[in-house]
């Protein structure tokens, strides 16, 4: 076949492009992690060489670990992210289903209303939100953060999910209705499995800004018990701004857990995307 002979150079070309971009994507991350294991002289003298026995030094890590309980911060971040993600996906998918499935008065209006939140940074509402949390006694709790992030993530989730839900075939749902399934069963048993790939996408979208947010942890939950890992890292950067050993170590500590989690979950994510692809 002619395609077979033509595809070899093309495959090489594809690998070349992908590999180049992979290098670009990973280089800064590797650079930071690599240098975090070096002495101060090693960092400044030869930034591009991996640590050698001569320049290997863990001083950065000892400084960081002596300063704050990064493991605990990490736990907080995890609780907040997973909690918010759960509610965003559940509530978001339900609302998206209602908007895309049923024709009712005010449907478009409701869709626009729910999309409004994409357009204004929620940061602006800080003072009012904080007052709300103070009034309900939720300051310095992880619940406060979960609530805010759920509200923050919903508009985008509804926006994307309703786009995808419109593409789910009506025949399937109508067949379910004829079989006497309730609307709830149709949603949870028929529709949700079909839109799994888009839910995975929404999950990633929602997760990143939550995990990385600095502002609300700083305002709503700055106490030692509720500090998130991003806030911990930022405070640390402020404190040790000239100590590059410590900074690179703190950055690595903030990167590594996410990286590991991501590598574990990216398999699930891709499996979700491929297996459930809407045909």
């Amino acid at each position: 076949m002619s395609t077979a002979t033509r595809s070899l150079p093309r495959t090489i070309g594809a690998h070349a492009i992908l590999l180049t971009y992979t290098v670009i994507a990973l280089f800064p991350v590797i650079l930071v992690i690599m240098n975090s294991f070096k002495s101060r002289a090693g960092i400044f003298g030869a930034p591009l060489t991996p640590p050698t026995p001569k320049t290997f030094d863990l001083i950065g890590y000892t400084t960081v670990i002596g300063q704050g309980d990064f493991f605990h911060y990490f736990q907080n971040s995890l609780v907040v992210t997973v909690g918010s993600l759960f509610f965003v996906l559940l509530f978001g998918a339900m609302a998206a289903f209602a908007l895309s499935e049923y024709r009712f008065r005010g449907n478009t209006l409701m869709g626009l209303y729910l999309a409004l939140g994409i357009m204004i940074p929620i940061r602006l509402a800080t003072v009012a939100i904080l007052q709300l949390m103070v009034a309900s006694g939720l300051v310095n709790t992880l619940t406060a953060l979960i609530l805010v992030y759920t509200a923050q993530g919903l508009p985008l989730a509804v926006f994307i999910l309703s786009e995808f839900m419109k593409q789910v075939s009506d025949d399937l749902k109508n067949a379910g209705r004829i079989d006497g399934l309730s609307e709830y069963t149709i949603f949870f048993r028929l529709v949700v499995p079909l839109v799994r790939p888009s839910m995975a996408t929404v999950a990633v979208f929602t997760m990143i800004p939550i995990w990385n947010d600095l502002w609300f942890p700083l305002i709503l939950a700055p106490s030692e018990e509720t500090k998130t890992v991003t806030l911990g890292a930022q405070l640390f950067l402020g404190q040790f701004v000239t100590n590059w050993n410590a900074i690179l170590a703190a950055l690595s500590l903030a990167i590594l857990p996410v990286l590991i989690l991501y590598v574990i979950f990216s398999r699930q994510l891709i499996r979700g995307i491929t297996s459930g692809a809407v045909k």
């Binding site: 400044f44 800080t126 003072v127 904080l130 007052q131 949390m133 103070v134 300051v139 600095l214 700083l218 305002i219 700055p222 106490s223 930022q234 405070l235 950067l237 402020g238 404190q239 701004v241 000239t242 590059w244």
Partner: protein
């Protein structure tokens, strides 16, 4: 019989009650601060010293990053979740908080008498009637230099501007060291370490500053443009790519021994002592001719106030009185060399570099940064614009005259001093 029982019961509960109160008196005070760097000093030295003397009061130092401090504090004060004790920025920023009712009036706080009117002026209403923060420290500007480098190149410590530039030329010609470690990326370095550092010698310290506030002088006058002209001359002596050099870059450049002179604030001393592997010295901003009166920026920088909404105002006041004491001043000034106590009681400092800085108070006239009092109340904000323009002048993207004109035009748009 019945009444007796009832009285006994009541008595019992009241005793129990008071016991409960005594127990609950173990209050915890939270300190809001932007000084994350000082975390260990508060934790290990200052707070234990206070708690040892004041059983029943626990203190927690909870800093946030300097860049977020003001915004975060503002939000927390507005919502009522801020800490009991607030670290105060000088002048208008804190005055604004006081006017909003966020800071309590501390004029009658025991210990306030330990401070001179000048020290208190940074945290007073314009009429001087109410003081709302306990002054903690001031910082002094000057130049820190690498003594080993100066010795090696045979450079004497410069007294005059000509000597200063001759020294820079000599270092540059030799090529071993970058003559001066300063970058313009973070903007404030150019304004604070540059303009406010060398400026007072030109505008004659307090005289010029007061005249500017009264409207008798303008930023476009010779005395105010001249520092920019000198800054523009610094450019060839800075390191490669200084436009993207951040403040920590500059610090590293100097402490790694790659640069010879560092335009400094005295707060650097503590860090430099731990990082630099060479001997250091300091000199005040050079004057025009030998024997001229020298002026230094001795800026009231940090104080501490009481959150008006604090539930533990009495305990917080006890703490603030201690902050106003000579005890606190001694621990603080020695733990943080380069933060000079504002307390009237003389403080003995061990650090030689800090002693050098503070000795200039004797031979030079002190002033504070020109943009801090009154002049940065409106929009555009003079201090912030000074950052931008100082960096522009050093980068060469604005001439000194153009920069001065921009600043004065901005100031004129909202500031109209009563003549």
């Amino acid at each position: 019989m019945k009444t007796k029982l009832l009285t006994a019961l009541l008595l019992g509960t009241s005793i129990l009650g008071t016991a409960g109160v005594a127990y609950a008196e173990d209050v915890t005070l939270n300190i809001e601060s932007w000084r994350g760097d000082d975390l260990s000093i508060w934790k290990d030295k200052l707070i234990p010293a206070f708690e040892a003397k004041n059983p029943g009061i626990k203190v927690v130092f909870a800093p946030s990053a300097p860049t977020e401090y003001d915004a975060a504090l503002g939000a927390k004060l507005a919502a009522g979740s801020a800490g009991d004790l607030i670290t105060c920025r000088p002048f208008d920023k804190s005055l604004e908080l006081f006017k909003k009712g966020n800071l309590a009036d501390l004029s009658s706080l025991p210990g306030m008498e330990n401070f001179s009117p000048v020290a208190k002026s940074a945290w007073q209403t314009d009429d001087g009637k109410s003081t709302f923060c306990v002054p903690m420290a001031s910082v002094i500007h000057g130049f820190i230099y690498n003594k080993d480098a100066f010795d090696k190149l045979g450079i004497k410590v410069p007294q005059t501007r000509d000597e200063f530039f001759a020294a820079l030329d000599k270092i540059k010609a030799d090529g071993t060291y970058i003559p001066m470690a300063m970058g313009t990326k973070d903007l404030w370095e150019a304004a604070t370490m540059g303009y406010q550092n060398i400026g007072p010698n030109y505008w004659k310290g307090e005289d010029g500053r007061a005249a500017l506030i009264k409207g008798e002088q303008k930023l476009t006058d010779k005395d105010w443009v001249a520092p920019y002209e000198e800054l523009a001359k610094w450019k060839p002596y800075l390191g490669d790519g200084f436009e993207a050099q951040t403040y920590p870059d500059s610090q590293n450049l100097f402490t790694l021994g790659r640069a010879a002179i560092y335009p400094a604030g005295s707060w650097e001393i503590g860090l430099f002592n731990t990082q630099a592997q060479f001997k250091m010295g300091a000199f005040p901003p050079p004057v025009e001719k030998a024997g001229d009166t020298c002026y230094i920026s001795d800026h009231t920088d940090i104080g501490m106030g009481l959150n008006a909404a604090s539930k533990h105002a009495d305990a917080a006041k006890t703490f603030l009185s201690w902050v106003a004491s000579a005890d606190f001043a001694t621990i603080y000034a020695n733990a943080l060399p380069g933060f000079f106590s504002l307390n009237s009681a003389p403080v003995k400092m061990e650090d030689p570099l800090a002693q050098e800085f503070v000795s200039w108070r004797g031979k030079c006239k002190s002033t504070i940064r020109s943009t801090y009092q009154i002049l940065s109340r409106g929009t555009p904000n003079l201090e912030n614009e000074t950052w931008v323009e100082s960096a522009n002048v050093i980068n060469g993207t604005d001439t000194p005259e153009a920069a001065a004109k921009k600043l004065q035009t901005g100031l004129d748009s909202w500031y109209h001093p009563a003549k």
